[in-house]
Assembly symmetry: C2
Homo-oligomer: 353 residues x 2
DNA sequence: TTGAAAGCGCTAACAT
DNA sequence: ATGTTAGCGCTTTCAA
């Protein structure tokens, strides 16, 4: 039952193992009759291809590896901040992978290690994954990309910054999303809007800032001196940013933070200084992490389509799965674009004069 | 470089492939001289055993599979609640797995599917994992356990309820933790404490309630009529529970919810009715999810050692790794026990008469 | 203590 | 359109 091999299927269906293999892999040149006999045998024997044997005989295994940054992950874990990004990513990969009889493997890689190249190529040699999924900031890591190229392993990059045509590129329109959020605030009557950036190392930080700037410019609004604070995607940096704004008596009516953790920091910092949200200060975030929904007030934010991006990535890595569903839209650079959403909750409101 | 095989290592060290294999697997009967020559060759060639070949030739692969419940996971994802449990679990497995040259695979299984047995045994036949990690409620799922036994695959159960000696059992002392939290509230002067339970399907729900009851009894405190509300681990059920308490004018000074999501619901519901926390109502949770830290006020809770439990589970599944570190404590039932922690934050305070 | 040889269950060339 | 055969890189007998 559980130990049926391709030979058993061949025997039961009166075909050769090669024909069985053809059917299983959806190759051409199989008569309908044979295909059906084979499929029937597969079903009745409960046959499943042995993953190890496939991996050993073929050029790659049936594994999609998510390369997760060790430092970042451990830091997330230590801080108690959680890692919502990772679980949403996995969700997307898992949904695709199961349909194609593939598997998800999670691997930690340390992008700052001096042994990065050695460790990564050892991993690739040992596992020989069908494809690898890279998340920021590894999506743009030169050594990682180089090692992958050398090993001839297919890879998908989520939210990459440069050389968008290298590998499968999947992204969301960060700039447009930040533009939309800023526009949302402006339409609520806000004119003096503060912004808290993300860390410089992340390409997304820059895009989000651009979207903010563009929206302000498009509506003829100036960006006040000192109203753009440098943050680093942490709660702490949100606390620091709002403290800075208030200490300098900037007459802001809204603050747009580059991610939710930061926005939550702004929210708490503002509350600590006696400001009510949204009456005295509207606050917007970016990402739509779980905390956004449960905050008081709940946070207006951009839902980042992590799951959808991961699904597109996985689909792009598994041959024969690209276009089974509606084709995704594509950016000028050639990236597959997943749709974000502006989620309006209770932390933003009309400006009260 | 990346394609070195065991034959290359054998040639470079002047040994047979069997000797190389012996060294790699830490088997006995290898002279020190030979071992060192082999190790040197391994190092200089950058050799790593091919995962697929190992899996094909041996009885099991070098994969630890985390069996994640599909329904639960998809539901978490849909609701935007996040899945902190999963990422903490993976963290623990990943830390152990890399030291033993093993890998983490994440698989979705649907515990409510009529095809559960078939799907699971197909998975096991295909992957042949070194071991499988089960989380609640699958830790006690009879079909899952049966299928695993039949397939002869080792498994670890996290937080199981029954037959604790079956498989590797890993847990925390839920009852004692709930006892400690209740005691914390009592020591702050609270005498009228409400409790919100978890879903009946979870063994932990019952344990936590017992801990609460025991602590109340130990301190000679009665449990007021109607002060134990049925919840289901969701934010909504917290909202409902506090609404129920308040509608019936129960003079509670504190509420202990069975998990953080529920506690956050209680917190928000209480605030909506004009109660300040902790001045008017102290609120305690359980789990220490990311939301607990960022809530306003931040939530007093029990830090569930998910990562540590997962690490113990992984260690228990990889032969030769059991006792490399300090041995874990063991419960009467034979479970490995990971240490929880009472995290006192700002949602609990002394009762104000 | 060491080694030779036989598979594990597939895929991939190469027939037919 | 179908089948034969030779590996893939290990672990596992079995010998020496």
């Amino acid at each position: 039952m559980s130990g049926a091999t391709i030979y058993d299927v061949a025997a039961a269906s009166g075909a050769s193992i090669k024909s069985v293999s053809r059917v299983l892999n959806g190759e051409a040149n199989v008569s309908t009759a044979l295909r059906e006999r084979v499929l029937a045998a597969v079903e009745s024997l409960g046959y499943r291809r042995n993953m190890s044997a496939r991996g050993l005989a073929g050029a790659t295994s049936s594994i999609i590896a998510a390369l997760v940054d060790a430092q970042l992950t451990i830091e997330h874990w230590r801080s108690g901040r959680g890692n919502d990004y990772l679980s949403r990513l996995e969700m997307g990969v898992l949904m695709e992978v199961r349909r194609a009889d593939h598997h998800l493997m999670v691997e930690l890689i340390d992008h700052a290690s001096p042994n990065l190249r050695r460790d990564l190529s050892a991993l690739l040699a040992s596992v020989r994954p069908r494809g690898v999924i890279l998340t920021p900031p590894n999506s743009d890591h030169p050594i990682v990309l180089e090692t992958l190229e050398e090993a001839g392993v297919a890879y998908a990059r989520i939210g990459p910054e440069r050389n968008l045509s290298q590998g499968v590129c999947v992204a969301m329109d960060e700039r447009q999303a930040a533009f939309d959020m800023t526009k949302h605030l402006i339409e609520l009557g806000h004119r003096r809007i503060g912004f808290v950036t993300g860390p410089i190392a992340y390409a997304a930080s820059q895009r989000r800032l651009e979207g903010f700037r563009n929206a302000m410019a498009d509506h003829g609004l100036p960006i006040m001196e000192g109203s753009v604070a440098q943050g680093d995607f942490t709660f702490q940096s949100g606390l620091a940013a709002i403290a800075g704004f208030l200490d300098r008596n900037l007459p802001l009516t809204a603050v747009f933070a580059s991610n939710d953790d930061t926005a939550l920091g702004v929210l708490q910092g503002a509350a600590a200084r006696g400001l009510r949200t949204p009456q005295d200060l509207s606050i917007a975030g970016f990402d739509d992490t779980p905390g956004a929904m449960f905050a008081t007030p709940s946070l207006t934010t951009i839902r980042q389509p992590v799951t959808e991006m991961a699904a597109l990535a996985a689909r792009g890595l598994i041959p024969g799965y690209q276009d089974k569903d509606a084709p995704a839209s594509v950016s000028p650079g050639g990236c597959l674009l997943a749709p974000y959403a502006l989620v309006v909750r209770n932390s933003t409101g009309a400006v009260t004069p």
